[in-house]
């Protein structure tokens, strides 16, 4: 008995329990979806799910880093929107401008993340309000930049990063997989990753044990914004047009995916694999609503219900003492 309890305790400590639970839900959801809709298991539909999940997965992975170190970033959706309009305008339909345009949005993302991170870690501002201010500013910047009507200059070559196929699988899935592997390695196998968990567990103890906490926190926000930019690039490539509101709502879905995946709000515990499960749970549910061809109002209602219920059932309290 006690051996089992100890084992369960270890599972709980490593955070595998919650991520495992998310995978259990994912598998049962998959089975239910296959039964409920005959089109679900269609190869094209499954690839579609992957294509839809890719941007959300990437932005949720970035969000995981920030939540693990005890923060939150609600500006990611606005950063994604800004990315789509800026990359499209800077590209202007010219294939030789693809790389410079991508560099420009990555630099913008880095600046936004840096501003968030420095304010939160050095000045000590509240992460939610700080990134909310960033959301308002970035959203306004996208509107001012485009004067409300974004130009559409995405080249066909650029669109290949989402629509191109390798072995019959969309390129965006490879991008998401690569980002997942990178974040998994960074969080699980490097000192930087351990420090992120440590800061989320106890900021002061981490500082006192000699880690440069402010620097690491800042790097988390920069990474999160950069990944939001990458997600925005994939999103632009997928939908093929620039939109001022393209990314709005992604912050909610990304945070929900992270929490459903078993990462504790408040930091310190969680795994990137759980986040992927959370993303797939959300995307499959949205896909199911689509397949059952429910009207868009019902889709909004279902989206809200899924997020509230998922987060309410799966949220864990942060590590003890906070």
């Amino acid at each position: 008995m006690s051996a089992i309890a100890a084992r369960l305790g270890r599972i709980e400590r490593t955070g595998f329990g919650a991520a495992g639970a998310a995978y259990l839900v994912l598998v049962s959801l998959f089975v239910i979806a296959a039964i409920a809709s005959p089109d679900f298991l269609d190869k094209q539909n499954l690839l579609n799910i992957g294509r839809q999940a890719a941007p959300l997965a990437i932005v949720a992975l970035g969000q995981t880093i920030v939540i693990l170190c005890g923060g939150i970033d609600v500006s990611v959706g606005a950063v994604m929107s800004l990315t789509t309009v800026v990359v499209s305008q800077e590209m202007g339909g010219d294939p030789s401008m693809v790389l410079p345009a991508v560099m420009i949005v990555l630099a913008l993302g880095a600046v936004i993340g840096l501003a968030n991170g420095v304010l939160i870690s050095r000045v000590g501002t509240d992460p939610f309000v700080t990134t909310l201010a960033a959301l308002l500013i970035v959203q306004g910047a996208a509107l001012v930049y485009t004067q409300g009507t974004p130009s559409n200059g995405l080249t066909p070559g650029f669109r290949q990063i989402s629509e191109g196929e390798l072995l019959g699988i969309p390129a965006s899935i490879f991008f998401a997989a690569a980002v997942f592997a990178l974040i998994w390695f960074l969080l699980g196998r490097t000192i930087w990753g351990k420090s992120i968990y440590a800061i989320g567990g106890n900021l002061r103890a981490t500082y006192l044990s000699g880690r440069r906490t402010a620097l690491i926190q800042t790097s988390a926000y920069v990474a999160c914004s950069l990944l939001a930019v990458v997600a925005g690039l994939l999103l632009a490539a997928r939908i093929g047009t620039a939109e001022v509101k393209a990314g709005s709502g992604f912050e909610l879905e990304a945070i929900a995916a992270v929490l459903i995946g078993g990462t504790a709000f408040g930091g310190g515990r969680g795994r990137v694999a759980g986040t992927i499960a959370g993303v797939l749970i959300l995307v499959i549910l949205f896909n199911l609503v689509n397949l059952l061809s429910l009207p868009s109002e019902i889709q909004l209602i279902v989206r809200g219900l899924v997020i509230v219920l998922g987060v309410a059932v799966y949220s864990r309290r942060p590590a003890s003492g906070s």
């Binding site: 308002l136 945070i255 209602i301 899924v306």
Partner: protein, 354 residues
């Protein structure tokens, strides 16, 4: 233990003004803004425009009273925009130009707001789900219901006497403002002079301690979210006095604006701090800026950015004030705040958890 009455008169006056008015620097900022607007925007300085600003500020002020209570509690309510739209369209749909169903058209929307707020409160109080996710999810659900109810178009219309309310004046004040004043006074009294008010601060400061001190934490949380829902629906009805019909998008912007107003007014998202008085200064700051920018013909595209900058400035000032950073920085260097870390769970932890 020193007796509280040994506190000097000046200190007591300062505390009282903080409780009833909020931080004085926020009112100073409002004053500076008004002066700048008077000198840079020619049409700004007129009695009619002042009335206009007040009239337009009332719906946001109503929502912000509820939002401030929720934030003081350590939570956040991002469903207010959708609930406002629900109150607005439901009220106009029930009224539909007729005088007969007036009472029903006001009571039912308030009940709907109460229901949404209560559900928010129950989920937040009973699970570990962060408040902003719960209320954003609720916003999605409620907005979906509003779109479904109105078929995404203008819906219903106010009765004649109700429509006049938006433009009527009692003495020098617009009718909406006159109706709002008792609500504000009630809010201030609850905040400062009742046990419930103290309980909200206690729960926001540390809900475990509050629980042990005998506060019924879950009940307080549910009550405050319910209040926020009712007030949002009421604001929807107030918005309807100025428009010819119900609008499924009537709430757009009220969620972030109300949070911004509360934060500008000195509320802190981890809870325990914030006042209705300060939040009202925040509402007026937002209203004055919106008004001046519209009069000055500044593109609406800039308004989001300007609000973001104001929120940013407010949160930086709040952080500096909380840590007394300037003084300690000069004495000890940049990381000195770790000498006196904030209590567990605050400052660098994400707010809006309760």
């Amino acid at each position: 233990m020193s007796a509280p009455r040994s506190v000097s008169k000046a200190v007591r006056l300062h505390r009282a003004s903080n409780r009833w008015l909020g931080p004085l620097w926020v009112w100073a900022v409002l004053l500076v803004l008004v002066i700048v607007a008077i000198y840079t925007v020619p049409e700004f300085a007129s009695i009619d425009n002042a009335k206009n600003i007040l009239r337009q500020a009332v719906p946001l002020a109503i929502v912000t009273i509820g939002q401030t209570a929720v934030i003081v509690l350590g939570g956040i309510d991002l469903s207010v925009a959708a609930v406002l739209a629900l109150g607005n369209t439901l009220s106009m749909g029930l009224m539909d130009g007729g005088e007969g169903s007036m009472l029903l058209a006001i009571l039912l929307p308030l009940l709907a707001g109460l229901l949404v707020g209560t559900i928010n409160g129950l989920v937040v109080a009973r699970t570990a789900a962060p408040a902003f996710i719960v209320t954003l999810g609720a916003a999605s659900v409620v907005q979906g219901i509003v779109f479904w109810y109105t078929s995404s178009g203008p819906y219903g219309s106010p009765s004649l006497s109700f429509g006049e309310l938006g433009f009527k004046e009692y003495g020098p004040l617009p009718a909406l403002v006159v109706f709002f004043i008792p609500l504000l006074v009630a809010g201030l009294i609850v905040q400062n002079r009742t046990r419930t008010g103290r309980h909200i601060y206690a729960v926001g400061d540390d809900d475990r301690v509050a629980e042990r001190a005998g506060v019924h934490v879950a009940r307080v949380k549910v009550g405050v979210y319910a209040l926020s829902g009712v007030l949002a629906a009421l604001a929807g009805i107030a918005v309807a006095t100025r428009t010819g019909s119900g609008d499924p998008l009537a709430g757009v912007g009220f969620d972030w604006d109300s949070v911004a107003a509360a934060v500008i007014g000195g509320a802190v998202l981890v809870g325990g701090r914030g006042t209705i008085g300060g939040a009202m200064a925040g509402v007026l700051i937002i209203a004055v800026i919106d008004n001046a920018m519209t009069l000055k013909d500044v593109s609406a595209f800039w308004q989001s950015t300007v609000k973001g900058v104001i929120v940013l400035v407010a949160v930086i000032i709040a952080a500096l004030a909380a840590k007394d950073v300037l003084r300690t920085y000069l004495r000890r260097g940049p990381m000195s705040n770790f000498k006196h870390p904030p209590p567990a769970g605050s400052a660098s932890k994400g707010g809006a958890g309760a």
